[in-house]
Amino acid sequence: MSFDILFNQFMSGIARASLLFLVASGLSLTFGVLRVLNFAHGSLYMLGAFVTYSIWKGLLIPVVGFYIATFLAALVMGGIGIIIEFFLLRRLYARGWPEQLLVTYALVLIITDLVKLGWGGEFLSIPRPVPFKGAVSLFGFPFPSYNFFVILLGLALVIFLWWLVYRTRIGDIIRAAAHDREMVAALGIPIPWLFTWIFVLGAMIAGLSGGVAGPYGAIALGMDIEIIVECFAVVVIGGMGSLPGTLLGSFIVGQVYAFGIMFKPELALAFIFMVMAAVLIIRPWGIFGRPER
C-alpha cells in the first residue's frame, strides 16, 4: 500500500478526530467541573445543527451566512444551557450523580421530541460554505478543504480550553470546584454562577459543533445518540474530564476507525470498543485519567 493512500486515510482519520474532539471537549469540560456526565450533550449538538440550519435558511446571507448562523446557534444553545443549568442541574448538585445522569437522559428524550415537533424529522443539509467548498491536493490526492476548517477549529478550541483551564485563575477555581464546591463557596467564590457558565460553555461548544456538522454531513434525527456513544468512547479512552485525554482519545478513535475501515471494514466499529476495553483493562481510568485513590 503506497504512502499517499495511507496518508490520505490518516488525514480522514484526523478530520473525524477533529469533529469528535469538538463535541467531546464540551462533554469532558462539564464532566470535569460539574461532575455531571451530560447525556444530553449529543442532543444539544443535534439541536445546534437544526438551529444553525434554520438561522442559515432564514438569514439568506450568501458567503458568511453559515458562519453567522453557527455563531448565533452557539449562542442559542448557550441560552438553553442557562435554562437547563438554572432550572434543573443546579437543584441536583447535592444529590448523587446517578440522578444527574438520569436528568440529562430525560433531556435526551425531551429534546428528541422537540426536534421532531419543530423540524419534523426531515434530513436537512447545509452546503459547504465559501471558501471551503472544494478540495486541496495532498500528495496528489484531493482533500476536502472543509475538513481543514474542522481541523483548525478543533485546534483553536484545544488551545482556548487549555489556556482557560490551566493558565487562568478561573481554571484553578474550576479544578478546585470540581472537587469541593462547598469549600470554594466558603472562600467567597460564587459557585452557582461559575457552574452555570461552565455548563453554558459546554452547551455552546455543543451548539458550535452541531453547526459545523451541518455542512460536514447531514442534519437528521438520531445524530444525537450516534455521536454521544462515540464521545463516551473518546473520553473514556483519554481519561474522563482530562483535556489532553480528550484530544488523544479523539485521535485514537478517529484513526482506529479510519484504518479499521481500510483493512477490515465490517469490524471497524467493533475495533473502537475493543480498543476502549483494552485501554481500560490496562489503565482503568483512561490514558490521562487519574485513579480515584
Partner: protein, 411 residues
C-alpha cells in the same frame, strides 16, 4: 390451504389455543380497523410520518365514498420506537385491545420480522409497505404477510441492471452498504446479479458503515484508493446526504455510482445533488408521472403542503390493496381475505401489480434514473427513467421454494 410452520420447532401449529382469533366476522356496519404501526424514531421518523399521511389520505377517500362494503375504515396509529420488543408488544396491543382487522407497517426490517411471529400467531394480516427485507416473504414466510414494496432482492437486481446498462464496460466494483439486514441483502443481490451480467466482475472493496453513520470520509478515501470502475450502494436518507456531501470534494462522483437517491434525499441535497449519478427508488411522482399519481400529488400537496415521497405512495397503495381484497372476499375475515389476496391485481399509483400467490410478494415496480436538473422543480430529479416491473426481477418460485426448504417453511 397449507399451514405455514413458523419454525422447525416440534410443535405443530395445531390451532394454538392462545391465539384467539380476534378478527371475527363482524356486524355489517362495524368499522374495519387498520393498525398502522410504524417507527417514529431516528431516521425512520420521517418515512413513518409520510406513510401515515398516505394511509390517512387513502382512508379519507375511501370513507368519503362510503367505506369498504359500507363499512368505515378506521386507522389506528402505533409507534414501535424502532425497538423490536416495543414493536412486538404494540402489535399485541393492536390485536388484543384495539381488535384491528389488518396491519400495515413497519419501517424497520428487524422490527418487521419480530412482529411477524406475533401477528401470525394471532392470525392477523400485515401489509408491509416499507420494511422490505426479503426475509419476511422468503426466509420466514407466513401466510399473514403481504409485501408491496420491492424487496431487497428485486430492488438491487433492477438497480444492478441499470448500472450495467449505463456502464457496460465496468468490471471492477466497490460497494458501500449500511451494515444491517437491508444493506446486507441488497449487497448479496447485487453480487449475484453482477456476476451474472459481467462474468469476470470483481468486487474490490466492500464498505459497511453502520446505519446512522454521518462521517464517511474514511470510507470514501478507502474506496477511492481501490480505483473501482463503478460503485454500488444502498445508502439512503440522511446517511446518503452526508455521504454525498463528503464524497463530492474528493471528486468521487466521477466514478459511476448508484444509490437510493429518492425524493427526500434530493430535496435535502438541493444544489449538492451530483448530476449524472444514478439513483434507484420505489416510486414517486417524478419516477412514474402517471395521471393517478399526479392526482395523488395534488391531493397530498393540498393536505401536507409538500411533495409526497415513495413512502406515502406505497402506504397509500397498501390501503387500496386491502380494500380490493376485502371486497373480493366480501368479508374482512382473515382466511378469506388471504385467499382473495392471492393472485389479486390492483391499479395502484405505481401502475398495475399482482400479488403472487406463492409468497404474497407484489409485482411492484422498481425505478432507476439519472440525477438531472429540471426547470419545473426547485430541486434535482431524474432523467432516463427505467421502470422495471416486479415480475421481471423477483425471485423465481423454485428459488423461493429452495429457500423455504432450508428455513423450514412448509406450504
Amino acid at each position: 390451504m397449507a399451514q405455514a410452520k413458523p419454525t422447525p420447532a416440534k410443535e405443530p401449529a395445531k390451532a394454538p389455543a392462545q391465539a384467539k382469533p380476534v378478527a371475527k366476522p363482524a356486524a355489517p356496519k362495524e368499522p374495519i380497523k387498520l393498525g398502522a404501526i410504524y417507527c417514529f424514531a431516528g431516521p425512520c421518523y420521517m418515512y413513518s410520518e409520510s406513510a401515515i399521511n398516505g394511509i390517512r389520505i387513502a382512508a379519507d377517500e375511501i370513507n368519503a365514498k362510503g367505506g369498504i362494503m359500507g363499512r368505515k375504515l378506521d386507522v389506528i396509529v402505533r409507534d414501535t420506537e424502532m425497538k423490536v420488543d416495543v414493536g412486538a408488544r404494540e402489535v399485541k396491543d393492536l390485536i388484543l385491545r384495539e381488535k384491528v382487522n389488518f396491519l400495515e407497517g413497519p419501517c424497520s426490517s428487524g422490527v418487521g420480522l419480530a412482529m411477524q411471529v406475533v401477528h401470525s400467531e394471532y392470525k392477523v394480516i400485515r401489509v408491509t409497505t416499507m420494511a422490505n427485507t426479503e426475509g419476511q416473504v422468503v426466509d420466514k414466510f407466513t401466510p399473514y404477510i403481504v409485501q408491496i414494496v420491492p424487496n431487497t432482492y428485486m430492488e438491487a437486481k433492477a438497480a444492478t441492471r441499470y448500472l450495467h446498462k449505463k456502464v457496460p464496460t465496468a468490471k471492477k466494483f466497490a460497494t458501500i452498504n449500511p451494515d444491517y439486514e437491508f444493506g446486507r441483502r441488497e449487497f448479496a443481490a447485487f453480487k449475484e446479479e453482477i456476476t451474472k451480467l459481467v462474468p469476470d466482475a470483481e468486487i474490490l472493496y466492500e464498505a459497511w458503515p453502520k446505519p446512522g453513520e454521518k462521517d464517511f470520509t474514511a470510507f470514501i478515501t478507502a474506496i477511492m484508493a481501490k480505483k473501482p470502475d463503478a460503485v454500488h450502494s444502498s445508502l439512503f436518507g440522511g446517511d446518503l446526504v452526508a455521504f454525498t456531501k463528503q464524497a463530492a470534494p474528493y471528486e468521487f462522483f466521477k466514478t459511476p455510482f448508484i444509490a437510493l437517491y429518492d425524493l427526500p434525499v434530493l430535496l435535502a441535497l438541493g444544489p449538492d445533488a451530483p448530476e449524472g449519478t444514478f439513483g434507484f427508488g420505489r416510486g414517486c411522482f417524478f419516477m412514474d408521472p402517471n395521471p393517478k399519481m399526479l392526482e395523488f400529488v395534488d391531493k397530498y400537496k393540498k393536505v401536507r403542503g409538500a411533495y409526497p415521497d415513495s413512502w406515502a405512495v406505497q402506504a397509500y397503495d397498501g390501503v387500496y390493496l386491502l380494500k380490493a381484497a376485502v371486497e373480493k372476499a366480501k368479508t374482512s375475515e382473515t382466511e378469506a381475505v388471504i385467499k382473495a389476496m392471492e393472485g389479486i391485481s390492483i391499479d395502484s399509483l405505481r401502475g398495475r401489480f399482482t400479488i403472487r400467490p406463492l409468497d404474497h410478494m407484489g409485482s411492484v415496480p422498481c425505478y432507476q434514473g439519472t440525477i438531472a436538473k429540471d426547470p419545473a422543480y426547485p430541486f434535482k430529479i431524474w432523467k432516463d427513467i427505467s421502470r422495471v416491473p416486479g415480475d421481471q426481477v423477483w425471485r423465481s418460485e423454485e428459488s423461493v421454494r429452495e429457500v423455504w426448504k432450508k428455513t423450514g417453511v412448509v406450504r
